[in-house]
Symmetry: C2
Subunit: 277 residues, 2 copies
Amino acid sequence: MCPPGCLHSICENATRRGLLKAGFTLGLGAVAATVAPGVKAARAAPLSFTETVDMSHALYEGFPTFSGDKWFTVENIVNFAKDKVNLNRWTLMEHTGTHMDAPIHFSADGMTADMIPLSDLIVPVAVINIAARAEGNADTSLTPDDIKAWEAKNGPLPEGCCVVMNSGWHRLVDDPRFTGKDGEGKNHTPGFHVEAAQMLIGERNVKGIGVDTLSLDTGLNSSGAFPVHYEWLGSGRWGVEAVANLDEIPESGAHLFLGIPKVKGATGGPTRVIALL
Amino acid sequence: MCPPGCLHSICENATRRGLLKAGFTLGLGAVAATVAPGVKAARAAPLSFTETVDMSHALYEGFPTFSGDKWFTVENIVNFAKDKVNLNRWTLMEHTGTHMDAPIHFSADGMTADMIPLSDLIVPVAVINIAARAEGNADTSLTPDDIKAWEAKNGPLPEGCCVVMNSGWHRLVDDPRFTGKDGEGKNHTPGFHVEAAQMLIGERNVKGIGVDTLSLDTGLNSSGAFPVHYEWLGSGRWGVEAVANLDEIPESGAHLFLGIPKVKGATGGPTRVIALL
C-alpha cells in the first residue's frame, strides 16, 4: 500500500532528477539566473537543535576495510622540524572509514557524490536497533518486521529520512568481529535484508540507509551478489557505512548531517557524520 | 581592551587544551566513563535554521592549488561497464579544494584535524566584505579597521565565531586571477593582515578565520613568510580556505558547518562547508 506522502515523494524525486538532467544539458544559466542548482536548499520547517554527536570513526592507516586490503595511506611531505610546515598526502579508496555510497557506486548512471542534493545532507534519522539479536547471530539482517516494529513504537518513518541499522558493530571497530572473517574467508556481519530495502523504496519516502558495519549488505562481500547495494543505490538513493556512536542518539527525533567532500564524479567519500539533537 | 566574554573565553580555551592533553596522557577511560572526549557537544543555546547554503567548491583534478602543482588525482579502479561496480582511488594533499587548516599545519605541536573539538564544527560566521577594494587591488588585505567597521554595523563579533573574508575571489575559481601569478612568479591575492589576526587573537573570542582565496595570507606564498598562518594556527586556532558562494549568505547571523574528515594526525583536509541560515 502506498502510505500518505508516497505519491508526493515520487513526484518530488522525479522533478529533482529532471532538474539535475536539465542542469547538465542546458548549463547553469538556463536553470537559475544567479545561483547554481543545488547551492541553496530551503527547509519545509525550521530545524532546531541543542546538542551535537560525532557519528564518525577516526580514520587511520590500519582502519578495517571491506576487502581487507589497505585502503588509506598517509605520507608526510613536509614537516615542522625541518620545514616549519606540516603537510601530508593521502591515498585512499572512496569507500573507506565512515563514508557515503553515492548511487553511481552500484549503477551505470546514478548520481555521483557531488550531485547529491544539498537537502539530502541534513535529514531526519531513524535508528533501528537489532544489536541484541546480532550479538548472538552475526549473520542476522534488518527486515521489514524490524521497520514495522520501529513504526509501531515511534510512528511512521519521518519523510525523507535516513534509516540506520544499529547492530552494535560500531562498538567493534577495533575487534576482529568488525569484518567477521571466518576460517574459510567468508565474512559474518549484519546488514539490511533486501526485502527491507524494497519496502523502503516502494512503500516509504526514505532518502538514505545507513549501517554501523562496512557494508549495507550482510556478510560484507561474502555472497558476491550485493543485493541491497544494487537494489538501493540502483534506485537513485544513497547509503552511509561505518556509522559510529549509534548508542549515543535516540532511535527517533535526531537529524544527521552528512559532510561528504564535494568531489566531481566521485562514487562516495569519507564523510564527517554529525547528529543534531 | 578586553571585551566582554574575553576572560571567559580564555578560561574555556585553557580548559579545552587541558582536557585534550589529559585525553592523550591518561587514555579515554580516565577522562569519561562512557563517551570518548569530544563525541558530544552541548550548545549554550538552541540553534534554529530554515535554509542551507553550500559553501564548498566542487573539487576536481584541475582545481587550482597553492603551489600550482597538481594536488588531487583520481584513478578509476573498477567500473560498472566491466565490473558492475564503480570505485575510484584519490591521491591528494590535505590542503586542496575547499579545506580546513588544523593548528598543526603551521606549528610544532598544535591540534591535528581529528582533535578539533566537535563544538568548533558548527559556529557563527561573520562575513567581512572587502570585494570592492580587492577588485581594484589584488594585494589588499583584511585589516583591524575592516573588523571595526563590521562591528560598528553589526555589533560585536559573535562569541566563538569564524571570521571569513569575502574578497570576491570565490567568483574567480575558473579565472587565472584566482592564483594571481604575475610574470615574475609572484601571486597577487587578498588575505588577512597579520594585525587583524593579532587583534582577533588578543581582543576577541574567535575560533577560526576563513578566506575565499587559497591562503589565509595575502599573495598565497609570495612572501614566503606566512605571517598570518604562523600567528593564527600557532595560537591553536584553525582556518578554512577556498570558501565558496560567500555572496549567498548574510554578513551576520548565519552559522557554518565544517564537515572535515576525521583523519588521525591530519594537518587539514577537504571540507564540506555548509551555511545554516
